[in-house]
Symmetry: C2
Subunit: 289 residues, 2 copies
Amino acid sequence: MHILVLGAAGMVGRKLTERLLRDGRLGKSDITRMTLQDVVAPAQPADSGFPVGTVTCDFAVAGAAEKLVAERPDVIFHLAAIVSGEAELDFDKGYRINLDGTRMLLDAIRLIGNGYKPRVVFTSSIAVFGAPFPDKIGDEFFNTPLLSYGTQKAIDELLLADYTRRGFMDGIGIRLPTICIRPGLPNKAASGFFSNILREPLAGKEAILPVSDDVRHWVASPRAAVHLLAASRAAARLAGRAFVTPDDVAKMAPAVLRHRIALTPDAELERYRPDDAIAAAVRSVPVPR
Amino acid sequence: MHILVLGAAGMVGRKLTERLLRDGRLGKSDITRMTLQDVVAPAQPADSGFPVGTVTCDFAVAGAAEKLVAERPDVIFHLAAIVSGEAELDFDKGYRINLDGTRMLLDAIRLIGNGYKPRVVFTSSIAVFGAPFPDKIGDEFFNTPLLSYGTQKAIDELLLADYTRRGFMDGIGIRLPTICIRPGLPNKAASGFFSNILREPLAGKEAILPVSDDVRHWVASPRAAVHLLAASRAAARLAGRAFVTPDDVAKMAPAVLRHRIALTPDAELERYRPDDAIAAAVRSVPVPR
């Protein structure tokens, strides 16, 4: 199986590539080749059990998409995008990359024809949704994006669905929330401050909250979530069970989450501990039935 | 006020043009000029109180949109489109006209700048919606179009909303249902048979229903609806009232609708009259509160 990753040098692209290299397989198929593309040079992996090529190019210029798909990769992860803040500041660039680039990619796949029908995994965004929000936002909530970025992602989803219905590809869009905590310096995403307000205090620095403190937002910290799931599975296995119970999760939560929590000076003065915060959080989550 | 109508030679375009010429005004402004565009030559109106120009061109080729908006029309009705059946049969043509053409128009308006901000009225379609449908389909129902045509209209709506939010225009999209009864020959709309099954029997001809007879669909017959409203207003005025009551509508319904109804031979044999059908329909509509 040949996997092409567009936007491989970004945060999600790097994490995805790392994981695919480690697993050596995707679903039930062995990976036999990978191609990593980005507009800045993707890092060449040190060792992998199969050939990994890198391509440095703007995928949204004429002819680029055709070259990228010419060798018919079986799975294409399309993560390449201009982030929200930049797409809002530079109208033309946002539409060129996020809409035209994606459409060029889909058309390049379509025009190969001859039965070529790759799996296309597209990272959309919760920015396709617009206020006012209900308490629970389902996939059936309508798309009234508040930014050009969300507009472009919503349009890409519509294209992906139509091209899939037509039989040109097997596409799926995933609406990612804000991924926290971004390492290193902030990027130009409008939601970047969600990482800042978590990262900077952990490093003992001040962080500015640019929105009202009653703003609710959906974020994902994949590492903690994945490790909590893995630890809970291990706990279930050690207890001789083939299934995870809510108690397994509650039992492993302190070990997985303790070092990820920084207390306020006030809480520390009151001898409040991270474990108290975790216990309170665990208590506040209803047991699923 | 200068009004530009794109797609002026189509059914809705002709009806709209006729009405604007008759009224001589739109909202509170006098019309001082009109430009009628279509890919087939729009008819030159016989007499009008102001200059009416006609343009025959494909609005979706490079440079066409710029020319059309160069004289900064105040209101643009954008009705030009490839209909559903044709957009489904000819993938490239549908996307070129319904998506690229609309985007070229919006960009041509945007790039004039200098405070130019026309009213853009875009005819979208109920094809933006996809099954399964709830009993009532509101504007907040999500867009999962089942055809490329609906996909293109949904994308255009997203563009219109973003360009409006950015301040490039004052856009509004209207999701038209199937307009019945289309005069003359069927066009290439997938929904054309809704007109056929009404038009052909009225002319004593056979019509084929290509879908199951429990299919429910949303149609609009603007003339009957407009005349029923006008007659009801007149009835209210004659009764010395400034407002229309449900009884006014019920009273005028037979006169407006009687000649629009063709009975089945079975119903005729049973001495059922069109007025009986209208009375039954009026009784079945709950009085609004």
